[in-house]
């Protein structure tokens, strides 16, 4: 039996680089065909609601923007027991159920993935509300996708490029999302002043 693989992009695409994981998942869904037992999911900011999907996987591949103190826009890879440490932040879900807790609960329930693989990006900007990925982080989409595809290759489950695009673009398609963004005068783009260190507000 080939392993069941879940590729999960997490984060909030309304907050600039925090949308990285979701954009990775969307690009994979748009451009590739996967073997039957590989699922690509845009997990958004869901917390506990992702447990059923995580539990049903043998290999969990996560794409996310994770703050690990590296040079902005660098990519990070982590495997297995090294993964949860990067997912402590609680920002996965505003439920204050961090993805680390999701994995802990899977353990308590006695069922969950045996292998973990994380492709993370160090965000440049997560404070640009309504904004898209910064150019530096956007440039990491293709390398991140390449790593995920390589990981699938290692598992003997290669994805195939889709010959053409199917159907019209999603309402949240990155290009459309960017093109129709209101101006900064119309729509305040900053976060809560108290959480913006150094910002005189």
């Amino acid at each position: 039996m080939p392993p069941r693989v879940l590729i999960l992009g997490i984060g909030n695409l309304l907050w600039a680089d925090e949308g990285f994981g979701v954009r990775v998942a969307q690009a994979l869904q748009r451009d590739y065909i996967f073997p039957e037992n590989v699922t690509v999911m845009d997990g958004g900011t869901q917390g506990l609601a992702l447990i059923p999907y995580v539990q049903e996987s043998d290999v969990l591949i996560i794409a996310d923007a994770v703050d690990f103190g590296l040079t902005p826009a660098s990519l990070l890879e982590a495997r297995d027991e090294d993964v949860p440490a990067y997912l402590h932040s609680g920002k996965t879900s505003l439920h204050q159920v961090s993805f680390q807790e999701v994995l802990a609960l899977c353990k308590l329930m006695g069922r969950g993935p045996e292998q973990l693989y994380l492709v993370g990006v160090q965000p440049v900007d997560m404070k640009d509300y309504g904004g898209s990925l910064t150019p530096e982080v956007k440039a990491q989409l293709e390398p991140a996708i390449a790593r995920i595809l390589a990981r699938l290759g290692e598992l003997g489950l290669p994805a195939q490029p889709k010959p053409g695009r199917d159907g019209p673009a999603d309402a949240l398609d990155m290009a459309q999302y960017e093109r129709h963004r209101p101006s900064a005068e119309t729509a305040c783009r900053i976060g809560d002043a108290r959480f913006l260190p150094g910002d005189p507000g």
């Binding site: 909030n12 695409l13 309304l14 907050w15 845009d42 997990g43 958004g44 900011t45 869901q46 917390g47 506990l48 609601a49 992702l50 447990i51 059923p52 999907y53 539990q55 049903e56 703050d67 402590h88 932040s89 609680g90 920002k91 879900s93 505003l94 439920h95 204050q96 159920v97 961090s98 680390q100 807790e101 802990a104 609960l105 353990k107 308590l108 329930m109 006695g110 997560m126 404070k127 509300y129 309504g130 999603d170 309402a171 949240l172 459309q176 129709h180 963004r181 209101p182 119309t186 729509a187 305040c188 900053i190 976060g191 809560d192 002043a193 108290r194 959480f195 913006l196 260190p197 507000g201």
Partner: protein, 597 residues
């Protein structure tokens, strides 16, 4: 020290010790709460603050109204679909678009599924730990636990061996030191009253409810094409029906209609054999803990939802009740007009926003969302590190919505009080039965426990309504009606130059409204009033306190360093501040600070 009498009947006294809880955990989003307690540890003043800037509305300006649902679905991690439904309803109202009966049934099933799922997750995963002591469960005798479980429910998973297995898994988990979701509990606090066996039973069902999610989410996958983030469509639903089709992709076929039907049966069974017996068993240990009523005894509001017939929002067509009750007069249920500028208004006197005239409220059609972070002169601390808020000035990112000037509570308890007042049998009879079984009077309903109980009863009602609409959908399909969408007004060139509309749902947490203005085919203004805006609202210009604040008043806090009672009551509302969007946490850590000053 000041003593103030609020117009909505509370005496505020800020003389005693101040307790600060920030952030309030196990909620969606970020919230801070400050209370003063008197010399008997009774709460004498309460201040609730949403600590996030909310700005979803402004990023929608200029976008295609047909896409708004997809953005609103991203505001928050829990009620994705309910925002999407509210949004498509607002657009349809503005443009005069009607939807087919099948679309109405499918939308209702999706909304009811969300309601049942959300209530279940809230009870077990966000709220039960306010009543259930996980660490005490380790002391339980599995055999006695089995006897307890079998005495209250026919649910099959109830053997001594089963509970023994759960207890050993829990023990291993706790001993690993990785407490995960159980990491920040006030275990051993005297406010916990359940015997170890009841605690163990509840922990077992906590895990079963997590597992049950995998079934219930399939309904959204069938009708919404995918989950999480199902698809929605202005004019109907985006799924075609082909009864003769096969397989798990493409149009909805008989195989998948049968799948939904069997999941609905399982949902009813889980709620009736696990959730409700647990609720009643837990309640029986807390039935003299009747704090937390707040505004529920006087002012409640529900927009109503789940239209029986498509395109009819009249009061009698809504299966979740519509109406407002004020001043505790259950004999009179008022109709609420979403478009009357005198009825629903938002104030910002105590909110970090700017209006030209802050003594006046604005109807959502005229709403503005312009941030203005300013602190009162009695604030303690600095702008970036507030020790105590000054509630006489601006103190929250949440606006203060009012109905005809009244602060209102919304949510399952509000819906159940409105339904009870109207004498709707599907609502009144189960409430009366639960109260009788617990030996409690009607007034006990107006409490934290009542809020938690109403949610459970509503989950049951919603699960049965899922059955009703699934049967209705199938018989309509069998009669040959396969329509799921009306595309007559899909193209913007069929729209008027300017249009405005309102859409509502009853979200799991309460009344949710979106108001939209469309101009030249684009969104000109968009305003949401979410349930937690009602419940979590700060004071208004007249000094009325909001529902969270009111609910904390006069509660005894056994141990101010462990404000379990505060969390218990706030959690009973199932607060969701994420609709107010996001937090910029400097190091991304979630540490609740409880400060007593």
């Amino acid at each position: 020290m000041t003593v103030t009498q609020t117009p909505n009947g509370f005496t505020l006294n800020d003389a005693g010790k101040r307790i600060v809880v920030d952030p309030v955990t196990r909620i969606e989003g970020h919230m801070r709460c400050e209370v003063n307690v008197d010399e008997h540890s009774i709460i004498s003043n309460a201040v609730s603050s949403g600590t996030m800037w909310r700005g979803l509305e402004v990023i929608l300006k200029g976008r295609d109204p047909r896409d708004a649902w997809a953005f609103t679905e991203r505001i928050c991690g829990v009620c994705t679909g309910t925002h999407a439904l509210t949004s498509v309803r607002a657009v349809e109202d503005a443009l005069g678009i009607s939807i087919p009966e099948n679309a109405n049934s499918i939308r209702n099933i999706m909304q009811l599924t969300l309601q049942a799922h959300d209530h279940l997750v809230h009870f077990y995963h966000l709220h039960a730990l306010d009543w259930v002591d996980v660490v005490s469960a380790l002391k339980a005798d599995p055999k006695a636990t089995s006897e307890l479980a079998q005495s209250i429910s026919p649910w099959a998973k109830s053997s001594a061996g089963y509970f023994h297995d759960i207890a050993s898994r829990l023990k291993k988990f706790v001993e690993s030191g990785q407490l995960g979701p159980f990491g920040n509990g006030y275990w051993g606090n005297p406010a916990y009253r359940l015997p170890p066996e009841a605690n163990l039973m509840a922990v077992a069902h906590y895990l079963e409810a997590l597992d049950f999610q995998k079934e219930i989410v399939k309904i959204h996958t069938v009708y919404g094409g995918k989950n999480p983030h199902p698809n929605w469509l202005v004019g109907g639903v985006p799924c075609a029906i082909n009864v003769d089709g096969v397989g798990a992709v493409g149009a909805v076929n008989m195989e998948r209609l049968n799948l939904v039907s069997s999941i609905i049966d399982q949902t009813i069974e889980f709620i009736e054999q696990v959730y409700l017996p647990d609720l009643q068993a837990i309640a029986s240990f807390y039935k003299d803990w009747l704090y937390g009523g707040g505004l529920s005894a006087t002012n409640v509001l529900s927009y109503g939802d789940i239209p029986e017939k498509a395109n009819d929002r009249s009061v009698n067509n809504l299966l979740l009740p519509h109406g407002a009750i004020i001043n505790g007069n259950l004999k009179e249920v008022h109709e609420v007009d979403l478009k009357d500028p005198e009825q629903i208004q938002e104030f910002v006197t105590h909110s970090w926003y700017k209006y030209d005239d802050e003594n006046r409220g604005l109807h959502p059609f005229d709403g503005v969302t312009q941030p203005n972070f300013a602190l009162g002169r009695n604030t303690k601390g600095t702008r970036t590190n507030i020790e105590n808020l000054d509630e006489s000035a601006k103190y929250s990112w949440i606006k203060a919505p009012r109905w005809r000037g009244h602060a209102m509570e919304v949510g399952p308890l509000a819906r159940y009080i409105v339904g009870y007042a109207k004498g709707i049998p599907e609502i009144k009879e189960p409430v009366d039965k639960l109260l009788t079984d617990l030996g409690l009077p009607l007034t006990a309903l107006f409490s934290t426990l009542g809020r938690t109980a109403a949610r459970g009863l509503e989950a049951q009602y919603c699960a049965h309504l899922m059955r009703h609409f699934q049967d209705k959908l199938v018989s309509n399909i069998k009669a040959g009606d396969l329509a799921t969408a009306n595309t007559a007004k899909w193209e913007p060139d069929t729209w008027p130059k300017e249009a405005m509309g309102a859409g509502t749902t009853e979200a799991p947490r309460g009344a949710l409204g979106h108001w939209i203005k469309i101009k030249d085919g684009k969104i000109d203004n968009y305003q949401c009033i979410v349930p937690t805006t009602w419940n979590g609202s700060p004071r208004d210009p007249k000094g009325n306190i909001g529902a969270f604040e009111a609910s904390l008043m006069n509660t005894k806090v056994e141990n101010p360093d462990q404000p379990l009672e505060i969390l218990r009551t706030l959690h009973s509302f199932d607060p969701c501040l994420a609709c107010s969007t996001h937090v910029m946490d400097k190091d991304g850590r979630e540490v609740t600070r409880v400060k007593v000053r």
